[in-house]
């Protein structure tokens, strides 16, 4: 009773909860008996590495493919993008990842079956890093393969619209090389809506992390949450929720700030508003 502060009145309990959450003191896990904060500290970098690298790679690949598809409409690439987009909306991610595991880890053992590091971990900085990347390769690859279709589809649709605008025709009419038309004129128009979609996709990406980490048994926040929820480990579950929420809010804020960088008009309007 006293350990969890259950003998105090409700409001005091809530105040204590808010205070401890803000100071990242999440109490002691029911399951492992270790402080939740310590458990989480070792997991957060893994989750950030997984989400960051897969989001970045799929955004880059998707944007490039989308632009190429919009340039050559009706080609094989455009068909790939259209189908890739449809598949990424309908294919269960965890099934795809299980299949990848089945083929590239169980049948042809070139990737590890589970975990974030080998047991025991290799010695030395470079070897440790390579081992980490080796373990992260398949999860990231699967996230990219699942994610790039949606990006490409979105970019393609935007780009088709942008390339039909008058200023593109004007730029082409001035005899600018195609590369400059694309990079200097079309791509600038593309950036702000891209950030919007990044913003909107963040919650889904965090949800995906829970599944990905569970499938690949990665040492991350998502699987910690999963284990906490199934094991009724309330301090751990609460802390993971708090952290995932924090992660979402932080990345939302980051992309909101980037918005001003990519679209000068937004900055101006805000400046005027104040």
């Amino acid at each position: 009773m006293e350990v969890y502060g259950l003998d105090k009145p409700m409001l005091t309990q809530f105040a204590l909860y808010v205070k401890s959450s803000l100071s990242f003191d999440f109490g002691i896990s029911f399951l492992t008996g270790r402080p939740v904060a310590d458990e989480l500290r070792s997991r957060v970098p893994n989750t950030v590495a997984l989400l960051g690298s897969s989001l970045l790679l799929s955004a880059l690949l998707g944007t490039w493919l989308g632009i190429q598809a919009a340039r050559k409409r009706g080609g094989a690439l455009e068909r790939l993008v259209l189908w890739g987009g449809a598949l990424s909306y309908s294919f269960p991610s965890f099934f795809f990842q299980l299949m990848l595991l089945m083929v590239f880890a169980a049948a042809i053992p070139i990737f590890p079956l589970r975990g974030s590091l080998s047991v025991p971990p290799p010695l030395g900085g470079a070897a440790l890093f390579l081992d980490y990347v080796w373990h992260l390769a398949l999860p990231v690859l699967s996230q990219v393969l699942l994610g790039f279709g949606g990006w490409a589809l979105y970019v393609r649709n935007l780009m088709v619209k942008i390339l039909g605008e008058d200023f593109i025709l004007m730029a082409r009419g001035r005899g600018l090389p195609e590369r400059r038309v694309l990079r200097g004129h079309a791509f600038r128009m593309l950036l702000p809506p891209l950030l919007t979609i990044l913003l909107l996709s963040l919650p889904g990406v965090v949800s995906g992390a829970v599944l990905t980490e569970t499938v690949f048994s990665l040492h991350g926040v998502g699987r910690f949450l999963m284990e906490a929820v199934t094991g009724h480990d309330y301090p751990a579950a609460g802390a993971s929720f708090f952290l995932l929420a924090l992660l979402t809010v932080a990345s939302t804020l980051a992309s909101d700030l980037l918005y001003g960088v990519t679209d000068p008009r937004v900055r101006l309007e805000r400046g005027r508003g104040r």
């Binding site: 598949l87 099934f95 089945m102 919650p203 949800s207 949450l225 199934t230 939302t252």
Partner: protein
Amino acid sequence: MRRRTLTRRWSFWCLVLLAALALFGGRLFSAPPDAEVAAPFSKPFWLDRSLPPTVTADLTPDAPSAEIPWSWGAPSRFFVAADMVADAPGRTILWTKPGGRTVEIAPLKKGVERDGRDMAFKRALGLPPFADGAASLLDERGTYRLSVDGQGPWEGTVRLRLDGGRWGLFGTDQRGRDIAALFVAGIRVSLLVGIMATLIATALGTTVGLAAGYLGGWFDSAAMRLVDLLLSIPMLPILMALAAIWGKGLWQLVLILSIFSWMGTARTVRAMTLSLRDTAYIEDLRGIGAPTAYILRRHLLPETLPLLLATMTLGVPGAILSEAGLSFLGLSDPRVISWGRMLHEAQTFGTFTAGAWWMLLPPGLGIAVLCLAFLDMGKYLEERTDPRLRGGALS
């Protein structure tokens, strides 16, 4: 060139087939889907022809003997059980080998069971304790015969099961359940959850969207802020928590899913209502004193309906995928068979340790095909209601 009619879309026939399977598919199988029908991890029948298949035979008073042609090695299990109303003194269960030698399995009594792995049974057969009972009972190729011998009346069924390594179209899972039967049973859950959750979400979204768009003011801003809030929350962790708190039942799941998927509809409907609100005919209606509820129900709602049909169809895959994801994480009722649950069990029990990939493919591909079909159907409906969209994906 482009396929415009409903009956020429692959997705339409796909959905019809799946719906028919969901309604009548249970009759394709003699046993209920959660019954143990063969050895655990039996392979699909077409996979490895050298493995013995799983053979079952029922003896009744009308058909007191059954012939079993056997041209494989020994099965992993020999199992005979008598499901009787009463004991039948004077009757025995006999096993005749191709050479004509007979082995007495057991006297025909109520609830008698013989398993080739049982010590007592092996001793009765005169075998050493570590011998394989099934191998000694099926030690040559040819036609075996199981029969009820002796005199006197009897009533009931004597059931024989020889567990080979093969069973059915998709094999069996870790408990020896037929994966094809589980697959068919899972369609129902996916369709039910997907459609029900989307229906409730659409109803909720339409109500909020209509009210927000038409009434405007504080209700509008409050509703839209709520939409923004819900859209920025990672859904799966919340679903996990709610599933853990509210329980794992199917209806809780439907409710949880619909609470978190009405926002898109609300936004679309609100935008549409906003553009309609100030049209002349709505203003005229207001002018002649039509009550707000009447305008909303009889004039604005029908305007949004064709659009709603498309968004609804497009929303089903999301609900199906969320349900599958939750079940895959193990946060669903273990007694309810669903595709997500099958994938969960495949991951925890068989796929990697037993190499049972046939546990993985049917449910996973089922989800993918079902979602693609709904997506294609939604695109079709969208094109029908808004011809400008023609030529988009999947058409």
